[in-house]
Symmetry: C2
Subunit: 311 residues, 2 copies
């Protein structure tokens, strides 16, 4: 049983109450506390030594990543982050300087995005550093963007270049907060997610939540410079397209709009975000699953494409 | 450097923003998002296998405790809990049934207190179960009760019986939410905290935050049945008074009121909560530190009384 099967099994039994607009299963929960213009977004995420970063990763970057992952989830709902609390599990012989530097990295990114850090619990976790961040944000009422509202026939867009984040991008990525808020204000975005599990995996989350399938154009998938370099320098590495489809932690935005809005969006995007590439990579279709097309034909990505894709 | 020294060092550098009414350092953060009648409370806490529970602790009780600790912090501010998110760090060979039972215990307590569980992140933590819960609550604007507002001459009260929670109470305690809200509505409570580190340790948190000292009456300190039984059955165990002063995880409420309100409070309490003992254990005084009095005289508890007290 993998993480997703487990979550699917646990989610239906989670208690709700009248504040819940959207519960577990999207990038953030959406809560209504009666503010006329705003809903609240609530999210938790964690990074663990040896899983999400290495023992020798500079501690500033660990702290930065712990917060950045949550910020990316707020971005995926088109929200604005407000306040974070941090639980820090520390090995017995931790150095106070290390903890100080974890917070330096986290605090610097928090300041950049106007986030208050309002609680810091520490506890023992003898074998490894474990950092859990919970983030509270807001979104203009009705402007939150879910995973479950894509429609067949939508154009599918993705920001930036994909793949190769293990070379460093997973520590240094910029959460796409400003871009997502611009999208929510200027375009009728149907569905959105941030790329944490890889393009194929995260697209599948949108497709399954929305009850549609997708056709992607192989040549339209934007491959990062890092993925190309890795493939060039290491004959055993994944092919760049496979890396772009299957590697996680790109933290770019993946979203859909009505096909009729696609050209207008692409033009407006270039004016507002000239430095960040936006790619239309295909369309949603009736049915299910992901089909990959090029001049020579089409192939179906299997159900666990992001785990087993051998491209 | 212990946990408290570390927190004291990190806290001043934490970023703030205009939503922050009270940041890190109290039982919960207090946030203002512009609701006319309510402020928000925000808290994170964690339980770790081998630290806060044993390998053979029933998983329902682990999940219950993980949420109950946060609920107790909301109680300490006189708030109402609303929504929780859960980060679960799991060993590689976890059993899905174990996780299901952790959530059963957590969900049952959440339902009892009207808390929605709106997000559940899972990640690997290879050696042990690690559960971090973040809890969002509300409090009537102006009715939040801090640690830092005790005044010299206050009467000091504590609910329940203290000590011996390791015998089981640390897994089964009832967060004092209803009692705390009643207090906030009916009495001018000056300062409040929940007992997680032991009476002496947590009282010291109030005293230091408020800039006062305390005199406790030895015979007034309520000792739990568990602490007495442990001492009776095990000649090597702590004396019951030492247990009541120094052991953690009682999760009772410790609070102060003006001396003139003490008798009225004690009478009203008996009517509303006849099953839960309320004890007046002493008074706050100008100065600092804790003095313990009995018929034969007074002794000062040293600065780390809860760590080194030898009864």
């Amino acid at each position: 049983m993998n993480e997703f099967d487990l979550i699917a099994r646990l989610t239906p039994a989670l208690p709700a109450n009248p504040t819940v607009v959207t519960g577990a299963g999207d990038d953030c929960a959406v809560l209504d506390f009666g503010l006329p213009d705003k809903l609240f977004l609530f999210k938790t995420d964690a990074v663990v030594e040896g899983v999400h970063f290495e023992k020798d990763t500079p501690p500033e970057k660990i702290g930065r990543k712990a917060l950045a992952r949550c910020l990316s989830d707020i971005a995926a709902m088109a929200g604005t982050p407000a306040a974070a609390v941090v639980t820090l599990g520390l090995p017995e012989q931790f150095k106070p300087e290390t903890v100080g530097k974890i917070y330096e990295g986290l605090n610097a990114l928090a300041k950049k995005h106007g986030v208050a850090v309002v609680g810091g619990e520490t506890t023992a976790n003898p074998e490894r550093i474990f950092i859990s961040v919970a983030l509270l944000g807001t979104v203009r009422r009705g402007k939150q963007i879910l995973r479950s509202t894509a429609q067949a026939g939508d154009a599918i867009f993705v920001t930036g270049g994909l793949g190769g984040s293990a070379a460093g991008g997973h520590l240094d990525f910029e959460p796409r907060l400003a871009e997502a808020r611009w999208l929510a204000e200027h375009v009728a975005v149907h569905a959105m997610i941030d790329l944490s599990d890889g393009l194929a995996g995260d697209l599948r989350h949108i497709l399954q939540a929305s009850g549609v399938g997708a056709e992607l154009l192989k040549t339209a998938i934007p491959i990062s410079r890092a993925a190309k370099e890795i493939a060039r320098n290491n004959p055993l590495a994944k092919a760049p397209l496979a890396a772009a489809l299957s590697e996680g932690e790109d933290f770019e935005l993946l979203f859909t709009v009505a096909a009729g809005d696609a050209v207008k969006l692409a033009d407006a995007w270039k004016k507002h975000f000239p430095k960040l590439k936006l790619s239309c990579i295909g369309k949603t279709v009736a049915g299910e699953g992901i089909t990959l097309r090029d001049k020579t034909g089409a192939q179906k990505l299997d159900a666990h494409g992001y785990e087993h894709f051998s491209g």
